[in-house]
Symmetry: C2
Subunit: 461 residues, 2 copies
C-alpha cells in the first residue's frame, strides 16, 4: 500500500494530464459515476447499513446517525447533483483576458485547474460523491479523506468513482482515498506536491489543519454570524428571519449566533423576538442590559409572542411557558469577550447597540467574517452595513442560512471560505481553478522595448 506522500508525488505528475483532459471526458466520468451508483446501490446500502450499525453500537446521537445514512433518497440527490454538474460550463480554459501587447505578441490569461487538492470532509456519504465530482469537473487531482463513521460506505463509493473515472480514460492517479486518520498528518507535510487543502468539520479540527501545514488552506474554522435588527426593522419580516437563521439548522456554520438590536426599538422588538426564539426552543444569552430589558417587559406584560416561530421548531409545554416570559437567566449574562462564541446549537447571544455603526464595529470585532445580516427598511443604513461589514456575505432582510453554494446557484460547493484570498464565501467550481498567462510571439525581445526601438500598444482583443 502506497503512502500518501508517494501518492501525492504521482498525482503531481498526473495533474497536468488531467488538466489537459477535454471537458467531454471529464463529463463522461461524472455520467459514469451516476450510472455506476445506480448499478451498485445494493452493495452501497449494505456497506452503509454496517456503518450505521456500528455507529449505533457506539451510541452516536440520532441527529448524527441521520447524517451518516445513505439511502435511496440521498442517492437520487447524488445522481441528480452529478447530472446538474455535467450541465455546468467548463470552468477550465476560460479566457479572462486577451491582449495584444504589440504587433504579433499576444497575451492570454486562461483558467486552469489548481492541480492537486486535499479535501478532508465530515462523515457524510453524499459529500464523497460531491467532492470527488467537483474535483473531476474542474480538472483537479484530489486526495479524499472522509469521516471515519462512514468508512465502509466511503470505500464502496470510492471504488465506484475510481472505476468510473478510469473508464472515462482519465489518468490513473486522478483520485486517491485516504482511509486512516494518521494519513492526515502525512498529507499536511506534502507541501511540495499538494497545492491546496480544503478541511471541513469542527472549528478545532480546521484550526489544527491551518496551524500544521505550509499548504494553502481554504475554508473556515468558525461561523459566528450576526443579525442586526435596525431602528427601521420591520418586525413582520425580521422575526421570522431571526428564527429561521437560528433554528432551521443550528449546527450549520451559517446559522446566526448573535442578535444585535438597536436600542431605539429594543423595548418593543426584543421581547417579541425573544418570545419567538424561546418558543422555538432557543436558549437566550446576552448582556445585563438585554436581560434587564426582558425582565421589565415580562413584568409589565409589554411583549407579545411572535406570530410565526419557524416551522422546524419542536414546541413543547416548557418552551410554550418560556415563550410567555422569555428571559436571560443570571448564568447566561454575558461579558463582552463572550460574544466571540459559536454555539452550533439552539442558543443565541443578544446585545443592544446604539446604531448601525456600533453594530458594524461589534461584527467586525467579534465575528468570523462569514455571513452577517441587517434587518431594516432604511436604504442608507443597509448600504452602510453592507459596505462596512468585512465579511464574505453581507445580507439585508433575509436569513443567513442562504450562504450556501446550492442556494447561490453554484451547482454544489466544496466548502465556505472566510479567508480573503482566492475564493471567498461558498466555493463552487470557480474556486477550484486558477489561471496561467500564455504569451505567444514571433521572436520578440525585451531589449527592443527597453531601448525604445519598439513600443507596447496594449490593445485588448
Amino acid at each position: 500500500m502506497s503512502s500518501i506522500r508517494e501518492e501525492a508525488r504521482r498525482m503531481k505528475l498526473a495533474a497536468p494530464h488531467l488538466a489537459a483532459a477535454p471537458i467531454e471526458q471529464r463529463n463522461a466520468a461524472l455520467e459514469n459515476i451516476a450510472k455506476e451508483l445506480e448499478k451498485h446501490q445494493v452493495e452501497i446500502f449494505q456497506a452503509n447499513a454496517l456503518d450505521l450499525q456500528e455507529a449505533m453500537e457506539e451510541g452516536i446521537a440520532p441527529a448524527i446517525q441521520k447524517r451518516l445514512k445513505y439511502d435511496a433518497v440521498k442517492m437520487r440527490d447524488s445522481i441528480a447533483g452529478l447530472r446538474e454538474l455535467e450541465k455546468l460550463d467548463d470552468p477550465v480554459g476560460q479566457v479572462l483576458l486577451e491582449r495584444e501587447l504589440d504587433e504579433g505578441l499576444v497575451l492570454r490569461r486562461v483558467t486552469v485547474p489548481i492541480g492537486v487538492i486535499g479535501v478532508i470532509f465530515e462523515a457524510r456519504p453524499d459529500a464523497m460523491v460531491q467532492v470527488a465530482s467537483l474535483c473531476i469537473k474542474s480538472g483537479n487531482c484530489a486526495i479524499l479523506k472522509g469521516g471515519k463513521e462512514t468508512a465502509g460506505t466511503n470505500r464502496a463509493l470510492f471504488e465506484i468513482i475510481q472505476k468510473a473515472v478510469l473508464e472515462a480514460g482519465l489518468p490513473e492517479h486522478s483520485l486517491f482515498q485516504a482511509q486512516q486518520h494518521s494519513e492526515i498528518d502525512e498529507l499536511l507535510a506534502c507541501d511540495q506536491d499538494v497545492d491546496l487543502l480544503i478541511p471541513r468539520g469542527s472549528n478545532r479540527f480546521v484550526r489544527y489543519i491551518m496551524e500544521h501545514t505550509k499548504i494553502p488552506v481554504m475554508g473556515h474554522s468558525s461561523g459566528i454570524c450576526h443579525i442586526y435588527a435596525d431602528e427601521k426593522a420591520d418586525p413582520e419580516k425580521a422575526i421570522p428571519v431571526i428564527v429561521d437563521a437560528k433554528t432551521q439548522y443550528p449546527a450549520a456554520c451559517n446559522a446566526v449566533e448573535t442578535l444585535l438590536v438597536n436600542r431605539q426599538i429594543a423595548g418593543k422588538f426584543l421581547p417579541k423576538a425573544a418570545s419567538a426564539l424561546a418558543k422555538a426552543g432557543v436558549r437566550l444569552r446576552g448582556t445585563k442590559e438585554a436581560a434587564e430589558l426582558l425582565e421589565r417587559a415580562a413584568d409589565t406584560g409589554l411583549w407579545r409572542a411572535a406570530a410565526n416561530p419557524g416551522e422546524d421548531a419542536e414546541t413543547n409545554h416548557a418552551t410554550e411557558e418560556s415563550a410567555k416570559r422569555p428571559r436571560i437567566a443570571p448564568e447566561d449574562i454575558m461579558d463582552e469577550e463572550d460574544f466571540a462564541t459559536e454555539y452550533n446549537d439552539l442558543v443565541i447571544s443578544i446585545r443592544l447597540v446604539e446604531n448601525v455603526r456600533e453594530a458594524v464595529e461589534h461584527i467586525n470585532s467579534f465575528g468570523s467574517h462569514h455571513t452577517d445580516c441587517i434587518l431594516t427598511e432604511d436604504d442608507a443604513a443597509a448600504e452602510y452595513f453592507m459596505q462596512m461589514v468585512d465579511s464574505a456575505g453581507v445580507y439585508r432582510n433575509c436569513s443567513t442560512r442562504f450562504a450556501d453554494g446550492y442556494r447561490y446557484g453554484f451547482g454544489a460547493e466544496v466548502g465556505i471560505s472566510t479567508g480573503k484570498l482566492h475564493a471567498r464565501g461558498p466555493v463552487g467550481l470557480d474556486g477550484l481553478v486558477t489561471y496561467k498567462y500564455r504569451l505567444v510571439g514571433g521572436g520578440q525581445i525585451v531589449a527592443d522595448y527597453a531601448s525604445g526601438k519598439k513600443q507596447f500598444h496594449h490593445r485588448d482583443l
Copy 2:
C-alpha cells in the same frame, strides 16, 4: 512612536472606511502625490544624495548604487506612472455576478479591497511611490517597509505621500511606514489585523517571511525560468530570445536560468547559442553531454558565432575569444540536482532533452513555476508545452523577460506570484482586491425552500 501591532490594529479599523472612499477621492490622492513630488523634488534629491553617499562609503557595488538613485528621470517616471494609474478603471465595486435567486432575492458578487496589506520591498525609491499608489488606488491600507539603503529617501517620499493622502480626505491610518528592520518580525505576528503580506527581495528573505507568519503571503521566493529550444526552433528568432532572456537584466526573477535543447538540433544549434551567450559575457554550465558536444563542435569548427549577441552586452577581448570557442569548463559540469539553481547573474545551465515531453518534465520538476518558454515553429509542440508546463507564464517564441506588470499593461505591479491561489504571475490592481457577496431580500427564510413551499430559479441579471 506607535508599535507596528498597534498601528495594524488602527489600520484594521480604518480599512472599511478607506474601502468605502469613492474613486474620485482615491484618484485625487494620487494626483496630490504627483504634484507634491514635483514641488518637493529638491528635498527628495537631497535626501537621496545622502543615502547614496552613505552607500558609497559602505562600498556598495555600482550596479546597486544605480538602483538606489532617485533623480529627475526617475521622478518623471514616477509621476507618469501615477497619472497612468489615475486613468485605470476602479478595481473596487465591480459586479462580477448578479443573480436573482428567487423573486425579490438578489445576489451580487462585488469586488472589494483586501483590507490591510504589508509590503516589504527592496531599496528602490521608485518602489515606494509605486507600491503606495497601487494600494491607495485599490482602496487598501498598507504598511510599507522599504530597503534600508534608501531609508532617507523613503522617509522624504513617505512624508509627501502621507500628506497627499490626508489632503484628499482619506483616513488617517491608511498608510504607515515601518522604518526599522526589527519591525518586520513584529509585522509577521499581526495575523489578526493584516490580511496579506507581499515580500520582495532575495530568495532567502522571501522564504524567511513565508516560513515565519500565519498571514497569507503573495510573491515568489525564486525565479528559475527555462527556455526550451525545440526540434523545430528557428535559430534566427531563437538565439536573440535566449540572449535577451539571460542578459537584458540578469538580476531579474524573469531572467532565464536554464536552457534546454532538443537533441535532434543540439549539434548545430547549441554551438551557435553558446557562442552568442559567451559573446554576451555569459558563463556556461551544463551536463557532461552538453559540455562534450561543445568540445567536439569547437574541435571541428562546426559552430558559427551568432549574428546578434544582445545589445546590452559589454564585449571585450576575453569574451570575443570565448565566443569563438564556447565551452563548459570541467568545474561547470552539472549533476541533475544542480538544475534547481537561480543565478541572478550572467551564468546559464544547459541540458539536452529528447523531446518536448522531457523538457516539460524537467521544468515541472526543477522550475519555480514562474515563466517558461518554448522556441518552436511547431504548433503541436507549442500547445503541448503551454498546456503541460505548470507555471504562471508559459511563452512561445519570446523572451521570459516580458513577465512584468508594465509589459502586460497592468499599469504597474506590486509583485510576481508563483503561488497558485488568488493572483498568479505579475500582480497589478486586480490582485489587490477580493469580493464579497451581497444578498438583498424582503424577509425570505430558508425553511420555505427546504420544505418545498418556494423554489429557487437562479436567473442571472
